[in-house]
């Protein structure tokens, strides 16, 4: 997840990671991770948030950007068989969401022009 600047929108964080920001901290299913900093529930300090959740953080001040990597907890890298959301553009720039295709069988096929 690439963040421009130093703060991340809570809604975006939830959509991309599945963790909801509540008064108890960052929560997913039964687990909550307390956040050791003040926040308004909407905009959070990206680096401090990632560190509190043990997510990898790489900073690129040259781009004024931060990358937050995926979780690495648990015994398997896929904690659930539920497909995560995927939101990507087509050639025209229109965004498609994997969840738009519920009700169909989907073959998700990765290719590259190299």
């Amino acid at each position: 997840m690439i963040i421009q600047g130093t703060t991340v929108d809570a809604q975006r964080f939830e959509t991309e990671t599945g963790w909801t920001i509540t008064s108890e901290g960052a929560c997913k299913s039964d687990a909550c991770i307390p956040l050791p900093f003040a926040h308004d529930g909407q905009t959070l300090p990206a680096k401090a948030l990632a560190e509190a959740m043990h997510l990898p953080v790489v900073e690129a001040p040259e781009l004024d950007a931060i990358a937050i990597g995926p979780e690495s907890l648990g015994s398997h890298s896929l904690p659930t068989a539920q497909a995560p959301e995927l939101s990507l553009p087509d050639l025209t720039g229109k965004i498609h969401h994997l969840s738009d295709f519920l009700g169909q069988k989907v073959i998700l096929y990765a290719w590259a022009p190299y």
């Binding site: 781009l63 907890l73 015994s75 068989a81 990765a110 590259a112 022009p113 190299y114």
Partner: protein, 244 residues
């Protein structure tokens, strides 16, 4: 790009969603997509979300998802349907030696299109009753143990792609190199980076050269290259074998 197969299966409730993994984005994927003229959604994945979200490490690979949004087959090699014509061989004019060497190795890469496509048709016909549609427990079990190195590698790789998008080439190289060291099993992480190095000798095959320029090999900024790695790892090991 599997168009005939997609058009055949779509009325049975199947959609093919292709995802082009390229930090050059729409411009990198445009030529191939305009030639393929797909009838299905063809998405562009500039930051390789398919890697961090689904564990893609090579292409072509696929993930099967059922009508309820459950993964029934996690990431695996996805060869073209057996009925698709083989790609046209290169033209008759003499190729640079490296490209000939690449084709020799590529010819030894092993895939099993018959088994994959037989399984696909079985799943389309039988849904959750198909032996090839794995239970959630089996899907989870097939995924690797998580690794903090790999997670950090995904973050570096995404940043490298962002650097490409923002034309910060040296920064991109630095973060690609970090990602390669942390996620050594990913061919896509290496090949994406290698494919961005312009080599004049490669001509129209620019993005497939993926190695040092014969004129200035000392300028190659990466630890390895496609030919070295495939010879070391063995073309027979390029894709993991089919697992029922």
């Amino acid at each position: 790009m599997w168009r005939a197969l997609r058009d055949e299966l779509h009325p049975q409730g199947v959609e093919l969603i292709t995802v082009g993994l390229d930090s050059l984005g729409a411009e990198g994927c445009r030529a191939a997509l305009e030639t393929a003229a797909p009838s299905h959604p063809a998405l562009i994945d500039t930051h390789h979300q398919m890697a961090s979200h689904f564990g893609i490490v090579n292409i072509p690979q696929s993930v099967w998802i059922d009508e309820q949004g459950m993964i029934v087959r996690p990431v695996e090699s996805a060869p073209p349907p057996p009925t698709e014509p083989a790609p046209a061989p290169a033209g008759s004019e003499a190729l640079p030696q490296r490209l000939t060497d690449i084709m020799v190795e590529a010819a030894q890469i092993e895939t099993d299109p018959a088994r994959y496509h037989q399984a696909l048709r079985d799943w389309v016909a039988n849904g959750s009753k198909s032996q090839y549609a794995l239970s959630p427990e089996a899907v989870i079990k097939r995924s690797k143990p998580p690794s903090s190195d790999r997670a950090m590698g995904h973050a570096h790789f995404e940043l490298a792609c962002e650097a490409v998008v923002q034309n910060a080439k040296d920064l991109a190289i630095r973060h690609f190199r970090a990602a390669h060291a942390l996620v050594p099993e990913s061919w896509t992480y290496r090949r994406q980076a290698w494919s961005l190095e312009a080599v004049e000798a490669a001509g129209p095959f620019a993005r497939f050269w993926q190695g040092p320029s014969p004129d200035a090999p000392e300028n190659w900024p990466y630890e390895s290259d496609w030919l070295t790695d495939i010879r070391r790892e063995g073309p027979a090991n390029y894709y993991a074998p089919w697992q029922d």
